[in-house]
């Protein structure tokens, strides 16, 4: 608390400035809040009032002083990590996906906006008025009635407007001082004319031809009391089921709406054959990929570290710098270069292989070789990290231990197995777990190298090299079935749980946790 004493000496002008600024801000916030109450915009009311409250507490309370430093960073952390985490959980227990984007009220609005033209529609001839740039209004003339219609869909009485028939031929030539648009002059406004939708006697007036507006009727009318959608052409009734309207013989009316489905999405990964097979296969490959990548790259990195860890070796600094070049190159670029090498017809690898041994390898086209290529590339990308980590750890092992072992007559391999490796693992093990977690979710590698291909079978939801994260990405953004948001969200949550369990269990077996609590 004594360290906060500097705060107590805020000078008078500073304090006045602070209070004044806060006052202006609060007044503004209050104004917005009143506006939001009037609009019924409760979400924004909550956001603005909550935000202002936090701001006031931060500025005025002495106890919250340290939080003034934390608040700016936390704002982003909460907005872009914590909130999305929660929202993801929410999406995963709904049926949010293509065909179920909206809430029920909005789905009803969308369905009841659909229209059809009855057999003998009421029709109006049309005359548009305006300038070259701007469409002013449309004069609609029916058998009995005339209207002036504006582009925003409002109708008004022609009596209120100035209609001029200059040559007396019965055709109106000017409306409110704007000239009649004909022929080519009309073309720039066609898009706007087609978009005009004028509410009229339980239906709408819409442009049907270049000369005519016709009255169209809503195709579906919603009966709120019975919660039923009635098709006006056929009289068929669609009853509201759980998440959509369904006709008497199971006809589905799109769109449906968003509902809470509990753990159904999760269950589908274990029970629904369309997701289940892909899920198990992808999970198996994800584990294999992550474990093999870490194992091979650690083995290579450690071996190289042992080679370099020799004080009599010349140029070791230079060698080290050159050996870590895969780490210094941006991964996206390296991955695409490797993809070029793997090209079956033109790639470097097959050119060399066919020239020297007369064989070609179907690198990224065959599931086994695609997986092999992915692991090889990942080993190339990650061994420098292992090399650096191992080199650091090797150099921190005290030399006396080796002297003692040598005196006891231990050979090189024995020294490595009994001294180097166990001591190395103490520092390296937590980093290996971290690497495992990164590989486990290395979407960039998979997507840029194979895009999850080759396909397992036509219509399968995941390819043979998809990892869990790329499977989720495919469900969310790349699927042939639109955006399966809720399935992707459920899968993400499962990935998180898997990573947490794996790293939690392994961290508990290392000393990493003690290090963390020491840092607190």
């Amino acid at each position: 608390m004594t360290r906060l004493s500097g705060l107590l000496r805020t000078s008078a002008p500073q304090a006045v400035l602070k209070i004044a600024g806060l006052g202006v801000l609060d007044a503004l916030a209050l104004f917005w809040c009143i506006l939001f109450v009037a609009q019924g915009n409760w979400l924004f009311l909550g956001l603005v009032s909550g935000g202002t409250l936090v701001l006031n507490v931060l500025a005025l309370s002495r106890k919250s002083y340290p939080f003034r430093y934390l608040a700016p960073g936390w704002l982003f952390l909460i907005l872009m990590v914590v909130y999305p985490m929660g929202y993801n959980v929410y999406i995963s227990v709904t049926n949010y996906a293509t065909g179920h984007y909206h809430h029920k009220e909005d789905a009803i609005k969308l369905i009841t906006r659909r229209e059809f033209t009855p057999p003998s529609p009421l029709s109006f001839s049309l005359a548009a008025f305006g300038t070259e740039r701007e469409l002013y209004a449309v004069l609609l003339e029916g058998e009995e009635r005339r209207y002036v219609a504006f582009p925003d869909g409002t109708l008004s009485d022609p009596e209120e407007h100035e209609l001029v028939d200059e040559d007396g031929d019965g055709r109106i030539d000017e409306l409110d001082g704007r000239a009649r648009l004909q022929g080519p002059a009309l073309t720039p406004h066609l898009g706007q004319l087609q978009a005009i939708r004028i509410p009229y006697e339980r239906g709408w007036l819409r442009m049907a031809t270049l000369r005519e507006f016709r009255k169209r009727l809503p195709q579906y009318v919603y009966d709120e009391e019975r919660d039923v959608m009635v098709d006006q052409r056929t009289g068929m009734e669609y009853a509201a089921a759980e998440d959509r309207f369904i006709g008497p013989e199971g006809e589905r009316l799109d769109p449906g709406w968003r509902v809470y489905v509990g753990l159904e999405n999760y269950a589908r990964f274990f029970a629904d054959p369309r997701y289940h097979g892909a899920f198990l296969r992808v999970m198996g490959w994800t584990f294999a990929f992550a474990i093999l990548s870490v194992a091979f790259s650690f083995a290579l990195g450690l071996a190289l570290a042992n080679l370099l860890n020799d004080s009599q070796l010349r140029f070791r600094k230079l060698y080290r710098s050159l050996l870590i070049i895969p780490y210094a190159l941006p991964a996206v670029i390296s991955i695409l270069i490797w993809r070029g090498f793997y090209n079956v017809e033109l790639g470097l690898f097959n050119q060399i292989l066919s020239n020297t041994f007369n064989i070609t390898v179907p690198w990224l086209r065959n599931p086994f070789w695609a997986r092999f290529s992915i692991i090889l590339t990942n080993v190339w990308l990650t061994y420098p990290y292992m090399l650096l980590v191992s080199l650091g750890a090797l150099q921190s092992i005290p030399g006396e231990l080796y002297e003692a072992a040598r005196v006891d007559g231990a050979g090189g391999w024995q020294r490595f197995r009994n001294i180097t490796f166990p001591l190395l693992m103490i520092t390296v093990a937590p980093l290996l777990i971290g690497s495992f977690a990164i590989s486990f979710n290395n979407f960039t590698l998979i997507w840029l190298l194979t895009e999850g291909r080759p396909a397992v079978e036509v219509g399968a939801r995941a390819g043979s090299t998809d990892i869990l994260l790329s499977y989720a990405y495919r469900l969310a953004f790349e699927g042939a079935r639109g955006n399966e948001w809720s399935m992707a969200a459920a899968l993400s949550i499962m990935i998180f749980v898997i990573v947490i369990i794996v790293s939690g269990v392994s961290f508990l077996r290392t000393k990493a946790l003690e290090d963390i609590s020491g840092g607190l």
Binding site: R3, G6, R9, Y65, P66, F67, Y69, L70, P72, G73, W74, F76, L77, L79, V81, V82, Y83, M85, Y87, N88, I91, L308, Y319, I325, Y327, A328, L329, P330, A331, V332, I333, L336, R339, G340, L346, G347, Q351, W380, P384, G392, L431, S435, I438, N441, N442, F443, T444, W447, L448, L469, A472, Y473, F477, A488, A489, S492, I493, F496, I516, L520
Partner: protein, 304 residues
């Protein structure tokens, strides 16, 4: 005779002994094998970069005709790349997005780390632990929620929505908070407090002490966090591909993927030039600050 022969072979023996410098042949064999292995590893490490560098100066776009050492080196591929593709936009977008995110996040993290390092307040331990735990959740797992959030946000604030660079910066800023704060706090803990305390006795507020004294002293760690952040974001693909639409808006990671069309058959030359230009900045930064970056990375392993 014997003595004559002995005399004539003696210098060879002496040269050999001098050459071995008192080491056994076994030692020299070990030496040789060690160097050979290192040279094999060097070839493995370097060939992709060398191949791309070589072919980028080649006269052809096709991957099949690409040669590691071009017969008639030209800069035609670079010319095509810079005049006929959106590559200059991608490079600019990437530097803009990664650069501004890194600068902002360094400042925000330093603020947070200072509070954790210098103030003792209720909720400090739980707050620190929570930040670490939150960081365990990779932001990419929330891609669906982030996409929908930006879509919604764009309805109210168009310049922060989908397909905008500020929107992407906003997303990245959130993801960069937890670990870097933790990392910087460790460094701040090692800066002695006596300097700040004497400044405060002279009437400086804690914030002034932070800006005038702690930040300048912490410059090395600020630079490391900035660079690591920049390098990581430079290669970020998933979130950028989710947020950005439209060729000219892409970052390098998303844009380079476009060259893949037709499996490089007709665009390898441009791609190779793009790879060289795209990598050179990061390579220079990495090797200029090698020691700092390496020590930073191996301590936490932020770069993927």
């Amino acid at each position: 005779m014997g003595s004559k022969a002995g005399r004539s072979f003696a210098p060879i023996g002496r040269i050999l002994r001098w050459g071995m410098r008192g080491r056994s042949p076994r030692w020299w064999m070990g030496r040789l094998v060690r160097n050979l292995l290192i040279w094999v590893a060097l070839a493995f490490a370097l060939f992709p970069a060398l191949f791309v560098l070589g072919t980028s100066f080649g006269p052809t776009q096709s991957l099949s005709a690409a040669r590691m050492i071009p017969l008639n080196p030209t800069t035609a591929n670079y010319y095509t790349l810079l005049t006929n593709t959106a590559f200059p936009y991608w490079l600019r977008n990437t530097i803009l997005v990664a650069g501004s995110t890194s600068i902002l996040s360094v400042f925000l993290c330093a603020l947070g780390a200072y509070a954790f390092s210098r103030f003792r307040f209720t909720g400090r331990r739980p707050a620190l632990l929570t930040m670490l735990l939150v960081q365990m959740f990779p932001q990419t797992l929330a891609m669906v929620a982030i996409y929908l959030l930006l879509f919604w946000l764009g309805g109210y604030i168009p310049w922060l929505g989908l397909n905008t660079h500020p929107g992407l910066i906003l997303v990245y800023l959130g993801g960069a908070m937890g670990f870097n704060t933790w990392f910087m706090k460790g460094y701040f803990d090692t800066i002695p407090r006596s300097l700040e305390e004497s400044a405060m006795v002279d009437g400086a507020s804690p914030f002034q002490a932070f800006v005038r004294i702690v930040l300048p002293l912490a410059r090395p760690i600020l630079a490391v966090v900035f660079i690591i952040q920049f390098i990581t974001l430079y290669s970020e693909y998933l979130l950028a591909s989710v947020v950005l639409r439209g060729e000219r808006m892409y970052t390098l990671a998303v844009g380079l993927h476009l060259f893949l069309g037709d499996q490089f058959r007709t665009r390898w030359g441009s791609f190779a030039a793009a790879a060289v230009l795209g990598a050179v900045l990061i390579l220079v930064i990495f090797y200029a600050l090698q020691n700092q970056i390496v020590s930073g990375l191996t301590r936490g392993g932020v770069k993927e």
